[in-house]
């Protein structure tokens, strides 16, 4: 494995040439950044992967059942398993989606589940991403380039091929396709993940469409071709967030949406991947309830654990949070991407008091978690490349696809913090990534 170290620079250089970048908006300016790749992979044994697969499949099946229930019968609320507050006042809950039954009743077709492994080997779920989880393209292209740079590595090690993601994606789209072509809908090249949109479209055989390429007529969705008649669209893997998707239904000022697409979707004439409104199932407040959902819908105990979480909404939990704030990590449920995360241990006594007051005033807004001392993975030291390795905090985003069945991609995006003192690994916060190897035996 160490032989990969010498290829670090070469692979990063190639990725820069292929345009493997992500963009971030800072102070209203768009910046494109390279996503630094570290050649030392995270290695997961076949047995461990089997365990993760069981746990992740179970979790995603329960989340899909929950979404169908929220926009349908609402049994889980009537049975008082989850308080109404955490569903109907959630930003991610979209009443516009009430009563819509998506093709094959699948809501979360592509789920990005973030996990960490604690030092004792136990895996914990950090968060669920059921809207537009991004990142699968990075380990895909990194693997491809690494294979080219060091073919021997893949002969000497029995590693599950991760290039199957493209066909998993295609099968998943075909499964819900209502008749017509598959498209990947991108807002355009100034989107943070444009590289990924074009790469996944190309690999899965879908057409990469910009918003102006799609239009609605007689309650069906069409793709405008440069030559020839328009093509009917049966499934849209849309990389445009819910609120911008249809100016006739959500934000009227959206210029990147397709007017009328929600009506077509409601009529069952197109599949949207993932379903709009999924945000209700993946915010940090609802996270607390996922183990209860698993019990409620599947009658099983959760295989994968949540990080120990306290909900400021419940008085008992709130008192606990206020008492132990200095050792907990507090998260604002409405924020994402590593924003709104506060470690109590970083705060002065004065700031702690301030935070306590905010929590007391707006309990619904916060959760608090025990800080999990998760494992470090070795990365090549950037300041002193050569052979020198240094440990850094890393998490894993597993990609779970729901088609006819729910399946876990035998790879994943391993993100690490480049800052030795930080637990925050998000790419928007300057982190890097690794390939994830799942061994085939």
């Amino acid at each position: 494995m160490r032989e990969l170290i010498e290829h670090r620079e070469g692979i990063n250089r190639l990725m820069a040439r292929y345009g493997v970048k992500f963009g971030i908006y800072k102070n209203n300016e768009f910046h494109e950044q390279l996503f630094p790749f570290d050649p030392m992979p995270r290695v997961i044994s076949a047995k461990e992967f089997e365990f993760l697969q069981k746990g992740l499949t179970q979790r995603v099946d329960a989340l899909n059942a929950f979404l169908a229930d929220v926009y349908g019968e609402k049994k889980i609320v009537k049975d008082k398993v989850i308080p109404e507050d955490f569903i109907f006042s959630s930003k991610g809950y979209l009443p516009q989606c009430e009563g819509i039954v998506p093709p094959k009743k699948i809501y979360s077709h592509i789920s990005g589940i973030d996990l960490v492994q604690a030092k004792d080997g136990e895996w914990y779920i950090l968060e669920d991403n059921l809207r537009i989880p991004s990142g699968a393209s990075y380990p895909m292209i990194a693997r491809e380039l690494t294979r080219r740079a060091s073919p021997r590595t893949f002969i000497n090690n029995r590693i599950e091929d991760n290039r199957g993601y493209a066909s998993m994606l295609k099968q998943m789209m075909d499964n819900v396709n209502t008749g017509g072509i598959n498209v990947v809908l991108t807002p355009g090249r100034y989107n943070a993940a444009f590289f990924e949109h074009s790469y996944l479209a190309e690999r899965s055989g879908a057409i990469l469409a910009m918003p102006q390429d799609l239009f609605v007529e007689n309650n069906y969705l069409y793709y405008r071709q440069y030559g020839g008649s328009p093509l009917k669209v049966g499934a849209v893997y849309r990389r445009i967030s819910d609120e911008y998707l249809d100016p006739m239904c959500f934000l009227p000022e959206s210029l990147i949406g397709v007017p009328g697409i929600m009506d077509v979707y409601r009529s069952g004439h197109v599949a949207l991947i993932n379903a709009p409104g999924n945000g209700v199932a993946d915010d940090k407040g609802i996270y607390y309830f996922v183990p209860y959902m698993i019990k409620y819908y599947l009658g099983e105990d959760a295989i994968l654990k949540n990080a120990p979480t306290y909900l400021a909404f419940y008085e008992k939990d709130r008192n606990f949070i206020l008492e132990h704030l200095n050792r907990l990590v507090v998260k604002d449920v409405s924020e994402a991407g590593g924003y709104g995360v506060i470690f109590g241990s970083d705060l002065s006594a004065e700031k702690l008091e301030e935070l306590k007051q905010i929590i007391i005033n707006e309990p619904r807004r916060f959760i608090a978690q025990e800080v999990i001392d998760f494992i470090d993975l070795d990365i090549v030291d950037e300041s002193n490349p050569g052979d020198h390795l240094v440990p850094r905090k890393a998490d894993l985003r597993a990609f779970v696809l729901t088609g006819e069945k729910t399946m876990v991609w035998p790879s994943g995006l391993t993100r690490f913090s480049r800052n030795p003192d930080s637990f925050v690994v998000n790419s928007s916060q300057g982190g890097g990534f690794k390939d994830t190897w799942v061994l085939s035996r």
Binding site: I87, Y93, P95, P247, D263, R266
Partner: protein
């Protein structure tokens, strides 16, 4: 039981030509436990194919696209609504919580507190809610042009002036704050003028219509077109187009009570 004949006319004038103009029209009265639609006709110009669909709030809407360049869009709807004795019981928990236009602010909180002090109890019963409505009606002044469709309940309340939409938003925000679910209703009422807005509160498992603009119950002189958490959800018309044009909208509504109920066919052109 009352029969109401209505007329709804909307004209959108654009100062430059636009194309690919998508429209959504919620000018067809809803049918529920308190109103029946016995006759209806709707015409639009330029003529386009309209598709009737229902949204997540239970609203019916006609959607369509005018592809060709145009600078005028007009809608004419008319019909007869039969108001009947009944109870609306279609509850949804989303009506418990603040929405975009009904977010809470310190001004609204203070006002509710003041009303509850005067009342001597928290706002709970039908009588309490009526008292709250009366206080709001006295406190807030009807002044067209003081607010826009983007004004929130808090902003309107702080300004002290507004129109029916603002009365409804403030009343909804106050009721939800008091723990009583409330929803926004857009429609028309007996008389001549524009569309109207009021609200409904959920008490003893039934929706009760309240018109805070007129400080009265919204009963059989009112025709419901749409409903939602606030103005945004149930907007009577909505659209988007390609082109740089500024638009002027004119609405004319007329509702009158008629004696008998001629049975006509429901048709859409």
């Amino acid at each position: 039981m009352k029969n109401l004949r209505f007329q709804y006319e909307m004209t959108l004038t654009l100062d430059r030509e636009v194309r690919d103009h998508h429209v959504l029209l919620r000018c067809r009265p809803m049918e529920n436990e308190i109103q029946h639609l016995t006759s209806y006709a709707c015409e639009v110009s330029p003529k386009i194919l309209l598709h009737l669909s229902q949204d997540g709030f239970g609203n019916l809407g006609y959607t369509g696209v005018i592809q060709k360049p145009h600078s005028l869009f007009a809608v004419q709807a008319s019909g007869i609504v039969q108001k009947i004795e009944g109870r609306c019981t279609d509850f949804h928990p989303m009506y418990r919580f603040p929405s975009v236009r009904t977010m809470l602010d310190p001004g609204l909180r203070a006002f509710l507190h003041e009303v509850e002090e005067r009342l001597g109890t928290p706002v709970r019963t039908f009588q309490d809610v009526c008292f709250l409505m009366q206080c709001l009606h006295e406190h807030f002044e009807y002044v067209p042009g003081a607010t826009t469709t983007a004004t929130t309940a808090g902003e309107a309340f702080a300004g002290g002036r507004g129109v029916c939409q603002d009365y409804a938003h403030i009343m909804i925000a106050l009721c939800r704050l008091a723990g009583i679910p409330a929803r926004y209703v857009a429609g028309m009422m007996i008389g001549e003028g524009a569309t109207h807005a009021w609200c409904e509160v959920w008490l003893s498992d039934v929706w009760i219509g309240l018109d805070p603009t007129n400080n009265c119950l919204a009963k059989d002189s009112y025709i419901r077109l749409s409903q939602g958490r606030d103005f945004v959800d149930g907007a009577v018309d909505r659209g988007c187009f390609v082109g740089f044009a500024s638009q002027t909208q004119q609405i004319y509504v007329k509702v009158e009570e008629i004696e008998d109920n001629p049975s006509e066919e429901i048709s859409t052109v």
